[in-house]
Symmetry: C2
Subunit: 458 residues, 2 copies
């Protein structure tokens, strides 16, 4: 593990986070880092991904470790590796050294953790093996993170409160991830005109991320089938008339994420139909960002995107009717079925392990409306909150060919006109936007969003 | 999931494998493919890696599926995804379609699997969640794969017998992985003189693998600290005098692996001390490969490497004494502490989920000798077996500075002479070698191993 050069700063930040937590709860907390998941045999594992809640308070991705938080006090629990480890994995900082770096009072072996377990709250980790340890040490059932109860629920709410608003240390990390991500997208654009398959473009993008010693924050989407929202396949050939949708984001070694989407023409030039639709999506993107500031409801940002998209599609002759009515009946969602974005931080969908507890203000629930059900965030914006803004337009066969949909929207959609836009399967434009005290800062603004800017990079 | 174009051939091969299995056992078998492991929240997972035993008999990496084998009969169990899946993950072949492709008699939902469970054997998968399902469906404890009992053990032994010797379909896949891997190594060499950090070289290598729509068969080792055998960190700067050790291998989309190591000078030219040691390792490599043919004991190949390395180090004045005595007292293991190689197939250490049941002939156990304990394979070679040959030389501080080692080998090592070779921290040369009916075929032979050949690629 690489030790950050600025670890005195790290320890200061971690203390501040503990102090903030201590204002909200009055019981001890134990957080586990998790362990590796086996791939095809025990010694061949996926890369270690530390629990985000642990990372928030411990700062470093220490494998098989736990921390105890009690007021301002931080205690680290980990077993120093056996000497035989040196041959295979080299010298690893000892618990004492790591405790010093993160500002913990002491480091103890894991066997001591049980003495700190009385009345301690926790959050369930993702790794099933570590989950068992959690139950054993705390000597009680640990519910999944999105179904926490009693003190675990209190802890969950306190951590959500803290993590909803990013401190400077977090933003420094996120901006590093964003910088690398923007380079990755530029590399993808530059690699496209010579690419034969989606995989070639994905490789050019991830090459930048790997070369900067970061990881991908989520499985990259690099596809000419942008209408499949979470497409994780890369085997399709890329052809002159296609649009290429790339949703790729880097994550720093300390776990902080970025999340960016651009859509560009394989040929290097948007067709006129592609440009028409692209500009509708871009208008939604720009309008939404212009409205971001503290106090604004994220739901209203989503509905604004819906309105601008409906408006644009009316102008293009694809939708028919009054914009307000179209949004009311979810006609925009035929082409923009997902939400306008989500929280971003240590997780690409930040704190989504906690279900909608993080994304939804207390008392609010997911809508069952077609155009709202996939909205991942429904809270008023506050300073320090980082959100994505990612409107899109997709021709999803499962939606547009669905008989029920076809019936419901028969006279709303000009189906004949729509056919003229068959070279637009999926477009999404996604930026990372920080809510500031009086407005917004687009962290990804150096990466062009307009068609001219994109064509210039190809 | 990409469906192979040659799936009629695939179905034929899978039938042949079932026929071969049916000659060895007379009870039904259920094998699970496994499911995804969550990374930091449930929807953000590691890539799916199918159980290798499932892949061997089902051919395709079908998530959350199971197969039942009864004699020649193959039955597929999987749940077709819900319609909502179409929006996020696109159209996925139905169970019926997949059954047709792999030559299964039928496809049923997972809920039907329990009716096939009576007296069925299985092998425990790696994914802890699927493990629970295994126990539930079979209504009994399922021991870890390396501790199988009764019919599960019988099944394990039968599968080992089959998988020890690769059929043509397997070799076709493996050769594809090997071809991409060799290109990756060439790209790594070419990228080195302009690289600043290990990560830059890793990126250049994995770029090739990703671009060919393959994955890495194991975490890449790309390091100037080759003395850390399984080094998975990439943050060190690369400097002119360093050797760069790269152990990187591609895996095809159907799960077949390659495993190749080369070591090259960061400057583009080996120093004379680096070349001296390199040639010792290369001599061991070449001697070992020249001896590979059916009937030869892999242990003897390992001991041959030990002998050639000891001999070379005596010639260089690093070791003192008679070669036979040095090997007998494990003096070679001071610098070559690991085994000469391992099985290779669907897993990079093939079937290592089964512990030493696959690697060690029945009745044989790991040695506790320092120079033999890490040997992963101890069987007579048979035609169709694929092994790695990977001798190395390392200056491991944990070994060479260990007081006990220092005492034991005080007069055997010329420590002063050794200091002259301080620019050699780790060298390994690893090829993939197929045992043929009368000798061996080096699948990786197009990638140079000699110093001139490597320098020419930089």
């Amino acid at each position: 593990m690489q030790i950050p050069t600025n670890h005195i700063y790290l320890a200061t930040i971690l203390l501040k986070r503990r102090q903030n937590l201590a204002k909200l709860i009055n019981f001890p907390v134990i957080l586990w880092s998790g362990s590796r998941s086996s791939r095809n045999f025990p010694a061949n594992t996926f890369p270690f991904r530390c629990s985000s809640h642990f990372l928030y308070f411990a700062g470093l991705p220490i494998e098989n470790a736990a921390i105890c938080l009690e007021g301002e006090k931080l205690t680290l629990f980990m077993d120093n590796p056996p000497p035989s480890n040196l041959l295979w994995h080299g010298e690893i900082p000892t618990g004492d050294r790591l405790a010093e770096i993160i500002g913990a009072d002491a480091a103890f072996p894991m066997s001591e953790l049980k003495f700190y377990a009385t009345n301690a709250a926790t959050i369930s980790v993702q790794n099933p093996i570590t989950k068992i340890t959690q139950s054993e040490v705390l000597n009680r059932d640990i519910f999944p993170a999105n179904k926490a109860e009693e003190i675990d629920l209190e802890l969950t709410k306190a951590i959500i409160f803290l993590r909803l608003s990013h401190d400077d240390a977090a933003l420094t990390e996120i901006k590093q991830a964003v910088a690398v991500t923007m380079e990755a997208h530029k590399a993808g654009m530059a690699a496209t005109t010579n690419a034969k398959f989606e995989a070639n473009i994905r490789a050019a993008m991830e090459n930048i991320i790997i070369s900067d010693n970061m990881t991908c924050a989520y499985p990259s989407i690099v596809t000419v089938h942008g209408e499949v929202l979470h497409n994780e396949e890369y085997f399709h050939p890329v052809q002159k008339g296609d649009l290429l949708l790339a949703d790729v984001g880097a994550e720093t070694s300390l776990g902080w994420a970025s999340d960016v989407t651009r859509t560009w023409p394989v040929s290097g030039k948007f067709s006129s139909t592609q440009k028409d639709i692209y500009d509708v999506v871009l208008a939604a993107h720009d309008h939404c960002i212009s409205q971001i500031k503290p106090g604004v409801e994220y739901l209203d940002i989503h509905l604004l995107a819906a309105k601008v998209i409906a408006e644009g599609l009316v102008d293009l002759g694809i939708l028919k009717g009054k914009v307000e009515d179209l949004v009311e009946m979810d006609a925009h969602a035929l082409f923009f079925p997902h939400g306008i974005g989500h929280l971003l931080g240590l997780d690409v969908h930040d704190m989504e392990d906690l279900g909608d507890l993080a994304g939804y203000e207390i008392g609010r629930e997911r809508s069952n409306r077609f155009g709202l059900g996939f909205l991942r965030l429904n809270r008023p914006l506050i300073p320090g909150m980082l959100v994505t803004i990612e409107p899109g337009f997709y021709q999803v066969p499962a939606i547009l060919n669905n008989q029920e949909m076809r019936g419901k929207y028969q006279n709303i959609v000009n189906w004949e006109k729509l056919e003229k836009f068959s070279d637009v399967r999926g477009i999404r434009i996604e930026d990372d936007v920080l809510v500031t005290t009086n407005g917004a800062e687009v962290l990804t603004q150096e990466l062009p969003t307009n068609t001219d800017g994109i064509e210039n990079l190809m």
